[in-house]
């Protein structure tokens, strides 16, 4: 008895999480999968196996929405990588003390200290028609008319997403940079590599797993995003997440379920292709 208990004890540690996982993730996804094949007549749904819902969402609108979501993803990914990598590099290589690294890293998480909605709304006086930015630009004579695209536009959506999610790119890259032995950099210099060559030949390849993990975070977060799209897009911008949310709002559950399944598949495909290109096993 005690022998069996000893063998089982480690599993007891993970049982609660496994149950939560099964009940609130795996089971709902299976449910959505099932519902996506149910019959729907606009008013009620009946258990069945039909592909009507999938055919129903195969429209130009859905395609456009996906393309728009990919645009958000591509722009946000590029911006978080180009802005986040230097930050991670600075933290890892130019901040000498661990305490300072941790402190400055926490500074990067400040966007999470206030609620999403309040932060977005507080941008209105900054980016709006009469906002600070527009007044400033007109004040120094750079523009005559207020710039419309600053708020409630695709630009604003990407701005919001970059601002909100960049920490998910910085953190894994910082982690992988911290794992690079400093003597490798010295060795590269000793062997005649310039600063740029050292970066290209040593630092970048060794931080690639961090880039991969950061990219996976960004993909999963952006592909299902609807809050930022709704708040910052002001009804002008579309994304798959927002489409699904609209369908749920109008009680078109089977359609929303079918959409959700497609979204899941597309997201998985992107992640698999990232893993194909970049090996993250070293980081695990």
């Amino acid at each position: 008895m005690s022998e069996t208990w000893k063998a089982l004890k480690p599993y007891a540690l993970i049982t609660p999480q496994t149950l939560v996982f099964l009940m609130f993730l795996v089971f709902p996804i299976l449910m959505i999968g099932v519902v996506s094949f149910w019959e729907f007549n606009g008013y009620s749904m009946t258990p069945a196996f039909t592909l009507d819902n999938y055919q129903g969402i195969l429209t130009d609108v859905t395609l456009k929405t996906y393309l728009n979501t990919f645009k958000f993803l591509g722009l946000t990914w590029l911006a978080t990588l180009l802005i986040g990598y230097p930050v991670a590099y600075f933290l890892a290589f130019h901040v000498p003390k661990l305490e300072w690294q941790i402190l400055l890293f926490l500074v990067c998480t400040i966007p999470f200290w206030t609620s999403n909605i309040i932060r977005m709304i507080s941008w209105v006086p900054l980016l709006g028609r009469e906002g600070l930015v527009n007044q400033g630009l007109m004040g120094i004579g750079l523009t005559q008319e207020p710039l419309q695209f600053l708020l409630f536009s695709d630009f604003a959506v990407v701005l919001g997403m970059v601002h909100l999610y960049i920490i998910f790119m910085i953190a894994p890259i910082f982690n992988s940079l911290m794992r690079i032995e400093r003597s490798l950099v010295t060795a590269a210099e000793d062997l005649g590599a310039s600063g740029f060559q050292t970066f290209r030949e040593v630092i970048l390849p060794l931080s690639a797993p961090g880039i991969a993990i950061g990219s996976i975070f960004i993909v999963t977060l952006i592909m299902g995003e609807f809050v930022t799209v709704r708040l910052m897009g002001g009804g002008q911008s579309a994304s798959v997440g927002k489409l699904i949310q609209t369908q749920i709002g109008s009680l078109q559950y089977p359609l929303a379920a079918a959409n959700a399944m497609v979204l899941l598949a597309v997201t998985m495909l992107i992640i698999i292709s990232i893993l194909r290109v970049l090996d993250i096993r070293k980081e695990l």
Binding site: E181, S183, L184, T186, A187, A188, E189, D190, L191, G192, A193, S194, Q197, E201, V202, P205, L206
Partner: protein, 391 residues
């Protein structure tokens, strides 16, 4: 020291012409390194002859690695000048110094194959692909790693990794090769074998090797010249034999071998054909006679006797053999006997003064003696074996 290059050099196999480098000497003139108010290296003046194998020997924190990193260009020089050959290299970037360094934990690029690791320096220097192929191929042949060229460092044993690191440094044809504790990551048996290979390789290439080590056996077996360092200063420079048998300071005597050290005051110094016979008054113990170059009467100094150069005798035996005028004699009690293989280490406490001393016997000799722990014995040693330590 100056005749290193005229010594017969054993060349077992020819080194290809495009791997041979011109060996240059290194000179340091009053070199100092400060980190804020902390002085890591203080006014070092030192000559490392071209084509020699020199070891910087000392405990951790003695400044030996900092000194090497300043020569390699990985550390700024706070004051003083460093020359490689006739060229002053202060402030020159590491790349332009014609030096190469082999790092303590090898610092191999984990994402690159053995071939690409060795090729790295040549690639960065922009050599043609044909030259690179030829030289890397020849280099891997020399270190015996040709069949491993497609492996990643993690797929190699420690000894193989060590050889990749060596090949990566040598292939750039440095005028001075620096080795930072190159053997410390290897296990004992491999270390002794690799030591021999390093020495052979240095002879074959005729290159200047400068190695940092904290292990005196390593320094003894590898070096033409040993530089003993302590607290950021050079304590003594000499051949392994000189350092071993004629230490000049208490630190060197303590660090480089099993020496028994006695501190005291110089009471007389008499010139002799061998040097000066110096009488040292050791508190609570009495007068010891030792041999030195020069001593000032009345100054504080010390002397040392190697643990294997003393004779151990029973009290009866000692009574029978009279103590000559040039012999030191003390009585001591055996506190511990430690068998370490060929050598048996015997710890004793002097009856007068309570000083702890060490006596080393060949085990075959020791097992024929009747001495046991707790026994009081006599230790005799000749004044000519007793080395005067001025500081």
């Amino acid at each position: 020291m100056q005749d290193i290059q005229t010594e017969p050099v054993l060349i077992a196999e020819a080194i290809p012409a495009d791997l041979q480098a011109e060996a240059k000497g290194v000179s340091l003139r009053d070199v100092t390194k400060k980190y804020g108010s902390f002085v890591a290296v203080q006014n070092i003046t030192l000559d490392i002859p071209a084509g020699s194998y020199t070891c910087l020997l000392g405990p951790s924190g003695c400044g030996k690695t900092t000194t090497m990193r300043m020569i390699a260009g990985h550390e700024d020089i706070s004051a003083g000048d460093i020359y490689i050959g006739d060229t002053r290299i202060n402030g020159l970037p590491a790349t332009q110094r014609n030096t190469a360094m082999m790092f303590q934990n090898y610092a191999l690029f984990p994402h690159k194959t053995v071939w690409d690791n060795v090729d790295f320096g040549l690639k960065m220097r922009g050599l043609s692909i044909d030259q690179r192929r030829k030289r890397v191929g020849e280099m891997l042949e020399i270190v015996g790693l040709t069949q491993f060229s497609d492996r990643k460092p993690a797929q190699l044993s420690g000894g193989q990794q060590q050889r990749v690191a060596l090949a990566r440094a040598l292939v750039t044809r440095p005028q001075v090769l620096m080795l930072d504790e190159p053997l410390s990551a290897l296990d004992e048996s491999l270390r002794v074998k690799t030591r021999g290979e390093l020495r052979k390789l240095q002879r074959q290439f005729g290159m200047t090797f400068l190695q940092v080590t904290h292990n005196q056996d390593e320094a003894y077996s590898l070096s033409d010249q040993i530089v003993v360092m302590d607290h950021g200063r050079v304590d003594q420079v000499g051949t392994p034999a000189e350092i071993f048998s004629r230490p000049l300071s208490k630190f060197v005597a303590r660090f480089t071998g099993d020496n028994n050290i006695f501190a005291g005051t110089v009471t007389s110094a008499v010139q002799d054909t061998h040097g000066q016979f110096i009488q040292l008054d050791v508190p609570d113990l009495g007068t010891l006679l030792c041999l030195g170059d020069y001593a000032q009467v009345g100054s504080e100094a010390a002397c040392c006797i190697r643990a294997d150069l003393m004779q151990i005798k029973s009290l009866d035996e000692a009574e029978k053999s009279a103590c000559g005028p040039a012999t030191n004699r003390v009585t001591a009690r055996i506190t511990a006997v430690e068998f370490t293989g060929y050598v048996t280490r015997v710890s004793l406490v002097l009856e007068r003064g309570g000083i702890e001393v060490l006596y080393k016997a060949r085990t075959p000799d020791w097992i024929t003696t009747p001495f046991t722990e707790g026994q009081v014995v006599v230790l005799d040693w000749a004044a000519t074996d007793c080395v005067f330590l001025p500081h």
